[in-house]
């Protein structure tokens, strides 16, 4: 199959199963999960704690590997890739936004945004320019020299968003991106997600357990006990 062809799905997950061993007990975190996500969709993943939604996100994010099943990202078979290949996929195709922001402490916003480009051999001048553009996109260009502890939670999350954007990844994965934010700031952050999704055609998949946040997405997938129990558009 040719990469980038129009009829290709961004994400195809087939019978994904993940089994953790906790002592003597096998925990089936994911049970034969099959999902297809097209380029440009916005998806909210919901479910109670332990439902498998986080495990699912980690596998989608190439941070973890499934026990069985197949995962194609832009038709690349992720299941057979090694550590460094997965790192390359994360670098090129996926932007992460976390609940806890996960910015490098004692490092300026600009340098935080530059971080992903440090690992794909982009010249320092281009890094600077692109990081600045990404910061502008989240409306934080005048705070580029601030360190995370000098920024509010919402601002930190916007820096994290800029970092997720900077390598022009087609997919942004957000794990409870508003979990640490108040309602007003949450709305601001969600507006940015919506804007990125509609204007730049970036696929956004976010995990949340707040229906108000899930409402920003056009599609909602519900997890329970490792199974998909609902998929509504």
């Amino acid at each position: 199959m040719v990469q980038g062809s129009s009829n290709m799905s961004l994400i195809q997950v087939r019978e994904l199963t993940k089994i953790y061993r906790l002592g003597d007990i096998d925990v089936r975190a994911l049970n034969n999960v099959s999902v297809t996500v097209e380029q440009g969709e916005s998806v909210a993943i919901m479910g109670p704690s332990g439902s498998g939604k986080s495990t699912f996100m980690h596998i989608l994010g190439c941070l973890d590997t499934p026990t069985s099943g197949r995962y194609f990202l832009e038709d690349e078979d992720i299941g057979y890739l090694g550590r460094d290949e997965l790192a390359r996929i994360r670098n090129q195709k996926i932007g992460f936004v976390f609940q806890g922001f996960n910015l490098l402490p004692r490092t300026s916003a600009l340098e935080n945004v530059e971080l992903p480009m440090l690992y794909n051999g982009i010249s320092s001048r281009e890094r600077r320019e692109r990081a600045m553009m990404a910061l502008k996109e989240v409306g934080l260009e005048d705070r580029w020299d601030h360190q995370p502890n000098q920024l509010s939670g919402g601002q930190q999350q916007r820096v994290a968003l800029a970092r997720a954007l900077v390598n022009k990844a087609p997919l942004i994965l957000a794990d409870e991106p508003t979990g640490n934010l108040d309602t007003k700031t949450s709305a601001e952050i969600m507006e940015i997600f919506v804007k990125l999704n509609s204007e730049s055609n970036i696929t956004v998949i976010l995990v949340t357990h707040e229906p108000a946040i899930a409402a920003y997405s056009r599609r909602t997938i519900k997890f329970l006990d490792g199974f998909i129990v609902g998929d509504t558009r």
């Binding site: 550590r83 996960n102 390598n167």
Partner: protein, 390 residues
């Protein structure tokens, strides 16, 4: 603060490396200088070493070496380049109102070649002077200072043991010998003059010492054998009898001296390697702590695409930076310490670019070696576990 304590080990190690090499090369150079101030490739023949059975006297107590022995060695030993017989004594020297007591050495003109000692001014005495027992002399710098002050001694007449001598040459400055003697406090005269006119002896022609210069250092043992054989033959010493002379090889003395500096260098080397090892373990320790403390950071870097070697390199470079900073500080302390040591203890210390490079290279190697394991550990972390680490 923690990093500063960590690099202390490296600093001490590198300082020791620098000091070790500075003292080692310095001492070696000093020894070489002292040996060559004696003259290089020298054999010293002393008379009357032993009397088997009965009372034994020290070297030089028997009048067994003669001028004709010296001449025979010169003529018959092909490995020998120069022979200088020595007949010496202490004499009172007078010039005008000044007087001075000094060692007067009677020898051949080539004593200056053997002792490797050029003249400052004037000329050496000649073989003709030796033949005629002329009353001419060459004086050392200390004698010049004590008798003449700043005026020119050339051509002046001084009295040695009340006998007038013409000064025909002045020796250049030579300084202290290995034993701390002032080598410049001396006067050279033709050997025959010393024997016949200055220091009377009941054994005409006897010598105190014969100094022999071999053609090269490789020829020294050959020359020694030849001289032994020749002198035994000339002195009619039977097969089972002991020599009535001693041949001493200056390189043996030099080797002994070198041995002692080698021990010193080894000791400093041991200190250096132990503290470099300890310093390296310190660096490994702090890097392991750092990897644990920064697990989250590693997770973030992995999430945004850092590969195995990106993580490894980051921590190796950090360890390397620590150890090289320690290395640079150690080099600075080592150089200034060596300077202070040479001022306080009077040791010659020499710092070569090689020793600085070596020390710097060692600290770098230590950083790499002990930085690798923590870096390796960091690169093996699982991205999600690292991200969730609190």
């Amino acid at each position: 603060m923690r990093s500063a304590l960590t690099i202390l080990g490296i600093i001490i190690g590198v300082t020791a490396v620098i000091a070790m090499l500075a003292v080692g090369t310095g001492a070696r150079k000093e020894i070489a200088k002292q040996i060559s101030s004696m003259g290089s490739n020298l054999l010293i023949i002393l008379p009357g070493a032993t009397t088997a059975g009965g009372v034994r006297m020290g070297s030089g107590t028997q009048p067994t070496l003669s001028l004709s022995d010296a001449e025979a060695i010169q003529k018959q030993c092909p490995w020998v380049s120069d022979v200088a017989p020595i007949f010496s004594g202490i004499a009172q020297v007078v010039y005008g109102h000044q007087n001075w007591s000094t060692g007067v050495i009677g020898s051949f003109p080539n004593i200056l070649v053997v002792r490797n000692w050029p003249l400052d001014s004037g000329r050496p005495f000649t073989q003709q002077d030796v033949k005629n027992a002329t009353k001419v002399c060459i004086i050392g710098q200390t004698v010049v200072e004590n008798l003449f002050g700043s005026s020119d001694p050339l051509g002046k007449i001084i009295r040695i043991n009340k006998i007038p001598f013409t000064i025909i040459g002045v020796l250049s400055h030579k300084g202290q010998s290995a034993q701390g003697q002032d080598q410049d406090d001396t006067i050279y005269v033709p050997v025959t003059t010393a024997q016949k006119k200055l220091f009377g002896t009941s054994f005409p022609g006897m010598l105190r010492v014969i100094m022999v210069k071999a053609k090269s250092s490789e020829d020294l043992p050959l020359a020694e054998n030849q001289i032994n054989e020749l002198l035994r033959q000339r002195h009619h010493i039977g097969r089972d009898r002991e020599n009535d002379f001693t041949v001493r090889n200056l390189t043996q003395i030099m080797e002994a001296a070198e041995q002692s500096t080698r021990v010193m260098t080894l000791l400093l080397g041991a200190i250096a390697s132990v503290s470099l090892l300890v310093g390296g373990i310190g660096i490994m320790n702090i890097m392991l702590v750092s990897v644990t403390e920064r697990t989250r950071e590693i997770g973030i870097r992995m999430a945004v695409g850092a590969k195995t070697w990106d993580i490894r390199l980051q921590f190796i470079i950090e360890a390397l930076t620590l150890s090289l900073i320690g290395g640079i500080i150690g080099i600075i302390i080592g150089i200034s310490g060596s300077k202070i040591l040479s001022i306080l203890a009077g040791w010659t210390t020499i710092i070569t670019p090689f020793s600085v490079l070596l020390a710097f290279g060692f600290s770098g190697l230590v950083g790499m070696f002990f930085g690798f394991y923590p870096a390796y550990q960091a690169s093996l972390l699982n991205p999600i576990d690292a991200l969730r680490y609190e």
